[in-house]
């Protein structure tokens, strides 16, 4: 589903900044490659901060895909028709696949999968704040596809051109699949809006709950975002948080109008001078509260994730035992051949 521009100020970023100026020849060479729009590949030389920063971003993105399965999984058994159930299953399956593409991309940087998963399960690693909101009604499944995946696409399309080859290529695969996700969500919301008054009301309430958390997905304002400068110098971030958020608002307002839904922002209004929609202030206290672990569902999501991992333990053990058995049989078959 999607990476969040969390841009939490950290020491690595603050230490990284000076390097860009007083660069060693190797770093100067690296920055020149970025400036020429070359892709950096796993075996290429790269600054340690670039490697660390990418591992953090790609693994957060992977965690978001994996945790993102939980709010939607909540509705698989209760989807209103077989068709919707099949579609939702296919979508959740895609999210699992996206997590895999991304963990693999992070592993090309020398990260270990076990360490990454441990960091998620211990609560040390972050994932997108949006998945810490509950999916109370069926309409939420539509809204997640339409708005949340729509915001994700806005953020992910520029990542297809990011400087790190394996990440860029993973994002190309993800974006191809993501279009289905957004369209199936819009289709759900549209069906509700064209249904009974109660169904339309359900859609409206869902949009009311998800609109602001979706805008928060783009991360803090550019002025408050310490990572953005470094990430754009490194060719990881191509478009700033605020610009992406504005684009999302601009394309979404007419879509909501088409559906006959309102967006819960009294200040939302077309600004002819700017050629964009103006919108109201975001509650950053809520954003940071959720990022730091105190959202409506943080504890539940993490518990469910750890539980799912633990419940799958026997499958991993069985697969390893099976592989061992096959290896032993191959060895004894080979020794029989030699003896004969």
């Amino acid at each position: 589903m999607y990476t969040q521009a969390l841009d939490v100020p950290d020491i690595a970023a603050q230490q990284a900044a000076p390097h860009a100026h007083g660069a060693s020849p190797a770093e100067a060479n690296f920055l020149a490659r970025i400036a020429r729009d070359e892709k950096i590949e796993p075996q290429d030389e790269m600054p340690e901060d670039y490697r660390k920063s990418l591992i953090r971003q790609i693994s957060q993105h992977a965690h978001s895909e994996v945790v993102g399965m939980l709010p939607e999984g909540n509705w698989i058994t209760r989807a209103p028709s077989l068709k919707r159930k099949e579609i939702l299953l296919a979508k959740v399956q895609d999210e699992g696949g996206h997590g895999l593409y991304l963990y693999s991309a992070a592993e090309t940087l020398g990260a270990s999968r076990d360490d990454l998963v441990d960091a998620l399960h211990s609560g040390k690693a972050k994932y997108s704040s949006i998945f810490n909101y509950p999916t109370d009604s069926w309409a939420d499944i539509g809204t997640i596809g339409w708005l949340v995946d729509g915001a994700a696409i806005m953020n992910q399309v520029p990542l297809c051109r990011c400087s790190y080859g394996p990440y860029a290529r993973a994002m190309i695969r993800v974006c191809k699949e993501e279009s289905f996700h957004q369209r199936q969500g819009f289709d759900i919301v549209r069906a509700l809006c064209e249904g009974t008054a109660a169904q339309k009301q359900m859609a409206q309430e869902s949009v009311n709950r998800w609109w602001w958390p979706t805008l928060m997905m783009f991360g803090p304002h550019d002025s408050d975002s310490e990572h953005t400068g470094q990430a754009s110098a490194w060719g990881i971030k191509r478009i700033s948080n605020d610009d992406l958020r504005q684009r999302f608002v601009d394309v979404t307002v007419p879509q909501a109008a088409f559906l006959g839904l309102t967006l819960p922002d009294a200040l939302l209004k077309w600004n002819a001078d700017r050629g964009h929609y103006d919108f109201g202030p975001i509650d950053w206290n809520e954003f940071w509260r959720v990022v730091k672990g105190d959202g409506p569902c943080n504890a539940e999501r993490l518990n469910d994730r750890v539980q799912a991992f633990d419940d799958g333990g026997w499958v991993r053990e069985a697969a390893a035992a099976h592989a061992d058995k096959r290896a032993r049989r191959a060895v004894s078959a080979a020794s029989v051949r030699i003896a004969a």
Binding site: E38, K83, D94, G165, F180, R183, F186, Q255, F258
Partner: protein
């Protein structure tokens, strides 16, 4: 080593990256005495016209392939899952690209 044809050497599969930023793609195979030798030979055989900027070689016997007899079982079920494609969903003209 006796002067015989290279077929006594192990077989390697060759993957070439055409252009920076793209995936390596399988282009063919060749015999070589060891992996480094295989890279040299692959360079000579597969990139004579600047087809590549990077080469991977993998011992052919390290590759496990799906069973061709299982092709229908493996891949046909996806044919009915047309809802995985964005074009399955009608998006009204007024909405434009989504």
């Amino acid at each position: 080593m006796s002067p015989q044809s290279g077929s006594a050497w192990p077989l390697f599969e060759v993957f070439i990256r055409n252009k920076q930023g793209l995936d390596h793609k399988h282009v063919g195979s060749l015999h070589a005495s060891d992996p480094a030798h295989a890279v040299t030979l692959a360079r000579d055989v597969y990139t004579r016209r600047q087809e590549g900027v990077s080469i991977w070689v993998v011992p052919s016997n390290a590759i496990t392939a799906s069973d061709p007899d299982q092709k229908a079982d493996n891949f046909d079920p996806m044919a009915s899952k047309i809802y995985r494609h964005p074009t399955f969903y009608d998006i009204p003209e007024e909405i434009g690209h989504m």
